[in-house]
């Protein structure tokens, strides 16, 4: 036992790797939140009038809302007046290609392990990088442009494709959907926009990298993905933040629309700063992600690996409106030290013969709390809906907690819904088995955890899967209960 404890100690005491800051010259809004700040953000972004009105409407709706308290997380309240809602790396001039981007920024991304230039040449992943909520570089734009794919920053899309933005923005997650979505709608500073035209199969993975750099800022980005009939896209998202003592807020919104026969795959590797070992600092990650399968035979698949953030509050959902549409949710959520995660999904079956699948793997270590909260709702007209959910929890150490709150609401007799959940720890016999074969305990645990999470990890695109495996090992390595 004592040896196990030692290993546990060793692993769980690993520091956050991405906790450095870079001093960009930043353009910041004054602290606080009011109509003027929103006008300021909108003016900074040179937005049209309708956009400003939309923001203000969302802001006024937000002012009337109450902060939700139902989630199984506890944290000191956020003082929304003490935040900076806009912080942009100062741009001297407009950049057209990667070569013109601030070299320091490129170096930043290289430290993050996503070298834009490298990626451009080698991996064929188009990257849109967002620092402190402003998009700084988008690679591969021209290649994509030839296929009619639009992949650009949100503010660029507002300027250049206002008709698309007007049509789709807020149609999946309305501006007044919930507290944090409304806040995001009011103050969002940038994000990514992706449009795949009819019948186009996006030839490469699209990727966004988010990073919070400046102190006292909140990051509010918005992602909108529209997949027209018969199209396909795989989208990746990654995030990191520097180590700071105070908590930072990240309230993003992701909207996905899939038309008939379209397929969207959205993968996230979330590695925001989780706070130090005493639970000080870290990111509050309050995210609204929702996709709608509008057309028949469409498919939306969410895959997430959640390792960071002090508090996570995130429920990527699918509205299965089209007949024969499919929703999937694969998740690995790892919490350590004082992290708290309340995450899961909602599958709303509206169309006939709709299918959904939920695989959620929670791993808690240290003094963390890990909750799965999900809903499967089969509406009256969703004949022959099918769902399978599996929520497993792995506990490491006797001071952490694992919780499951699945809601299953069935209004149609032909529905077939199954849910199962288990909670266990890594068996001593499993460790022993590995040790017998010359694998030391820490490697054995990494091996077992990776095996446990494999079902989800294999859903990730190659490059991400490798990163995710490393992250898993990093966050937990070797916790033997």
């Amino acid at each position: 036992m004592s040896k196990d404890d030692q290993i546990l100690e060793e692993f769980t005491s690993k520091e956050y790797e991405f906790g450095w800051t870079v001093d960009f010259e930043a353009d910041e809004a004054p602290k606080g939140l009011n109509d003027d700040i929103i006008r300021f953000i909108s003016a900074k972004k040179e937005e049209p009038q309708w956009m400003l009105e939309w923001r203000l409407e969302a802001f006024h709706a937000w002012q009337k809302m109450k902060e939700p308290e139902w989630a199984n997380v506890h944290y000191p309240k956020v003082d929304f007046q003490d935040l900076i809602y806009y912080s942009a790396p100062k741009k001297k001039k407009k950049v057209n290609s990667l070569d013109e981007v601030d070299p320091e920024m490129i170096a930043t991304f290289e430290r993050l392990g996503i070298s834009l230039t490298e990626q451009k040449r080698l991996t064929g992943v188009a990257v849109d990088a967002v620092i402190d909520s402003v998009s700084v570089a988008t690679t591969f734009k021209e290649t994509l442009g030839e296929l009619g794919i639009i992949f650009c920053s949100f503010s660029e899309a507002v300027r250049e494709h206002p008709e698309l933005i007007k049509k789709h923005m807020g149609s999946v997650v309305p501006a007044n959907d919930n507290y944090y979505a409304a806040l995001n709608a009011a103050v969002f500073s940038d994000g990514s926009f992706c449009y795949i035209p009819k019948g186009v199969r996006c030839p490469m993975e699209l990727s966004t990298y988010f990073r919070i750099n400046a102190a006292n800022t909140g990051q509010f980005e918005r992602t909108l993905i529209v997949a027209e009939e018969g199209s396909y896209v795989s989208y990746l998202e990654g995030c990191t933040a520097p180590m700071r003592d105070e908590n930072q807020l990240h309230a993003a919104v992701v909207e996905i629309k899939a038309a008939k026969n379209a397929e969207v795959k959205y993968s996230t590797v979330q590695n925001w700063y989780p706070g130090n070992k005493e639970g000080k600092g870290g990111i509050y990650n309050f995210v609204t992600k929702r996709g709608i399968c509008e057309g028949d035979h469409s498919k939306i698949s969410w895959t997430q690996v959640e390792t960071g953030s002090a508090v996570t509050w995130k429920y990527p959902s699918c509205i299965l409106k089209g007949d024969y549409s499919i929703g999937e949710f694969y998740s690995v959520a790892v919490t350590n030290n004082f992290q708290q995660a309340d995450t899961g999904t909602k599958m709303i079956h509206i169309g006939k013969n709709t299918k959904s699948r939920i695989v959620s793997k929670g791993i808690s270590a240290g003094k963390s709390q890990n909750s799965y909260r999900g809903q499967v709702h089969v509406m009256k007209r969703a004949t022959n809906a099918r769902n399978f959910s599996q929520c497993d929890s792995l506990l490491m150490g006797d001071k952490c907690g694992a919780h499951t709150f699945p809601y299953i609401d069935i209004e149609n007799q032909s529905a077939q819904v199954e849910h199962e959940a288990t909670t266990s720890k890594i068996g001593e016999d499993q460790i022993f088995y590995c040790q017998q074969r010359g694998i030391d305990a820490e490697t054995a645990v990494a091996l077992i955890v990776n095996g446990y999470a494999k079902e989800v990890l294999k859903q990730l695109p190659m490059e991400f899967a490798v990163e995710a495996q490393k992250l898993l090992a990093l966050t937990l390595e070797g916790s033997v209960g």
Binding site: L395, G401, I410, Q413, Q416, E418, H419
Partner: protein
């Protein structure tokens, strides 16, 4: 100030509570009455659960009571015939029988129990005589602060029984509590409180059954506070097969001592709206707990089962099996909570909830919930909802069994998983007959 839900109910209750206090005479200074007063003021402050209350999310009992009942505090006289009364009772059951008419203990119809180690007394008598058992246990297990309907029951319940089973006493015959109501002339409402203390190494079976005869609506609540001492074995049956006008809220709050074994059975077969709260605290080591339930619903019946298995100590085992068949436009709600507290290592906790919908209008809302703070545990829950297996149906039809009959066979087999866990033959046969009749209609 925020508007609280169920204000109109509270208004009519307020005067009743004052009248009730006046009628108490000498008892108003008792410990039990202090609890009642506290419960009522807590109810006044927090109100009844509104539509946003998580625990009552799918069962808006507050609205049902507001809409359907005047709650004027008095019931019409009991006027049922002997035949009507005996029709509500379990045929062929050899038991110690206790009967309540319109919520009031009937010494004429109840058996005069003379069994060594068993003491069954009317709670109202116990309060009058200032019985230590009644005073010490009233309101101790069922927390009125946590549930408004427990608070309602705590404030108004005067009747019920205290059952005391001596250490090492083995009570062969089950103790059956019949609560029979007459709603033929007016709406009916009463609140029952039972206190059960099972001594060390004792064994007993208790059955609680509520029935109403008449066309008018009835609203009844019952709270059972049960102590299962070390190494005791206790079975508790809740049989709900009331009229379509019957609104009932049942609370069973039990705590278990070391190496004890408690089995709770809940059969919900008919009623307008039924809410069952079953809370079991596993307070020592080596405990076994079983919670078995079957809900067989039709028409507009709405049944909500909320169960809690709270593992507080190591080396305990709990197993829960709830099954439901929903027909007509009925609604089934299930919420099973398993808590495993930080100290409760080596816990084994299992839960299974299975539902079959056999009508387009029936719905089911289920929420199996695991909350675990200990690492060396083995816990699982499973939950399925679906319709009858078409292949199985076809298999039977291919062998010349008519579709209706085949369907009934499959549903009966589904329900049998729960029925088979009943050890008492008379109870099992009684339930099987009701289920069979219902499924073959």
């Amino acid at each position: 100030m925020e508007k609280i839900a169920g204000q109109s109910i509270l208004n009519s209750l307020e005067t009743q509570f004052e009248a009730f206090e006046k009628s108490l005479n000498g008892q108003s200074k008792s410990a039990a009455h202090a609890v009642r007063k506290e419960a009522f003021s807590s109810l006044k402050n927090s109100g009844f659960p509104g539509p946003k209350n998580e625990e009552y999310k799918f069962t808006n009992f507050t609205r049902a009571v507001e809409k359907n009942f005047e709650l004027n505090g008095t019931n019409a006289d009991f006027g049922l015939t002997e035949a009507q009364i005996s029709a509500t009772q379990i045929e062929g059951l050899d038991a110690h029988k206790i009967v309540f008419l319109n919520g009031i203990y009937s010494s004429e119809l109840s058996d005069n129990i003379q069994v060594e180690g068993l003491k069954v007394e009317s709670l109202a008598e116990g309060f009058k005589a200032n019985s230590a058992l009644a005073q010490a246990n009233f309101g101790k297990k069922a927390s009125f602060a946590e549930d408004a309907f427990v608070a309602l029951n705590t404030a108004f319940s005067q009747h019920g029984v205290t059952i005391e089973i001596a250490d090492k006493a083995v009570i062969e015959k089950p103790i059956v509590l019949y609560f029979i109501g007459d709603s033929s002339t007016a709406e009916l409402s009463y609140h029952i409180r039972n206190i059960v203390v099972a001594g060390k190494f004792s064994q007993a079976t208790i059955i609680e059954k509520f029935d109403t005869v008449g066309e008018h609506k009835s609203f009844t609540t019952s709270v059972n506070e049960i102590s299962v001492s070390d190494s005791a074995h206790l079975r508790f049956f809740k049989i709900e097969n009331d009229t379509e006008q019957a609104y009932h809220i049942s609370n069973i709050h039990a705590s278990q001592g070391a190496n004890s074994n408690f089995k709770a059975f809940t059969f919900s077969l008919n009623g307008a709206m039924i809410r069952n709260n079953l809370n079991i605290k596993l307070q020592a080591e080596g405990i076994e707990t079983y919670m078995n339930g079957l809900y067989l619903l039709d028409g507009k019946t709405h049944v909500d089962n909320h169960t809690v298995a709270d593992h507080m100590m190591p080396n305990c085992y709990s197993n829960e099996l709830y099954k439901g068949i929903m027909d007509g436009s009925s609604k089934g709600v299930f919420n099973g909570k398993i808590f495993v507290r930080p100290d409760a290592q080596k816990t084994n906790a299992f839960q299974s909830n299975k539902n079959i919908l056999i009508s387009d209008k029936a719905t089911v809302n289920t929420k199996p919930q695991l909350e675990i703070w200990a690492d060396d545990v083995s816990c699982s829950h499973g939950c399925t909802t679906g319709q009858l297996d078409m292949d199985a149906l076809f298999y039977l039809q291919a062998r010349g069994i008519q579709k209706d009959k085949a369907r009934a066979i499959l549903l009966k087999a589904f329900a049998n998983d729960v029925l088979e866990t009943v050890e008492n033959e008379a109870i099992k046969e009684y339930l099987a007959a009701i289920i069979e009749k219902r499924l073959e209609k």
